[in-house]
Symmetry: C2
Subunit: 200 residues, 2 copies
Amino acid sequence: MPVSPITLYFDFSSPYAYLASRLIEDIAARHDRGIEWVPMLLGPVFAATGARPLVEQPLKGDYALHDMQRSARYHGVPFRVPQPFPIATHQAARVALALQREQPALATPWIHAVFDAYFTQGRNVADMPVLHALGAELGLSAERIDAFCADAQVKAALRANVERALGAGVCGAPFFVVDDEAFWGVDRLPQLERWLQARF
Amino acid sequence: MPVSPITLYFDFSSPYAYLASRLIEDIAARHDRGIEWVPMLLGPVFAATGARPLVEQPLKGDYALHDMQRSARYHGVPFRVPQPFPIATHQAARVALALQREQPALATPWIHAVFDAYFTQGRNVADMPVLHALGAELGLSAERIDAFCADAQVKAALRANVERALGAGVCGAPFFVVDDEAFWGVDRLPQLERWLQARF
């Protein structure tokens, strides 16, 4: 019986999704699962749940800034507090979606490249020149990146991912679904792994 | 050099604080730390952070109901979804505070008794008759419980705990402080324990 992949809903501006992007592949490999990366946008999710961006919330914002850095150290993942934060990530997400459709071998490298640029190199991945530079490292021309971002089908696919996320009950990022079981947060990876082992 | 205790801010209506109450003592014992239990109220914390009770939030509420049950299974802690939820917990908190002052040996047993009544036995610990019954099991008369709840100094002490929590940056429950390092959530206990070991 073929096993389904681990579905990972993410927004490129989520530090915890970045941490998850660095941790999920080892977990998936240990359990012979693939990963379905689903770029989406937290803005509409926050609108649905009534949440605001983490750092704009009194008390929680200060705590979160500290927690994201300590969580990175805890997991041994390089991390730099992004500035500005949060940012618009629809262009980076569109490129990811277009690559998943047209050149799937580059899609996951793109996802890692965007996350790393923003969360380890301090580069603003909302800026097209930054996306052009990241594309160049993968052999993608600036024209191709621009075409992905302007493509009506790609735009529609991103909107569809957001709808899919809301339909799946996604209330933040990272959000995982494994065999219909939902896990929210990088801090739920131990439970996700236990689920893969033993469906406790 | 004497070591400071692990400070645990909690509200009796928080399922995750209940889980923490079942897990923190082993962690503290492993690292020769005491525990300072700080009953407080999430209402004013939510007012400060702009949050609403978990189950009232679209998407998050459904997820949380599922997550709290799975988290209990993950940690091997008995759990029953409380009903009604959330509830007013100021009376149970006042008794805890009064015992901490007047009969400290009973304070932690009271805290566990209230949590267990609500989260494993389905008893509504907002009701005075339930608190009377829990008190009776510890040898406390109903009159004494009532007197604790009506005591102006105890009421003031609970308000002071809430102020202290807000001043300490408490943004939810459970919230831990160890040597000025803050941890929010039962899911941060692994980081808290690493901190006790290695201040990573």
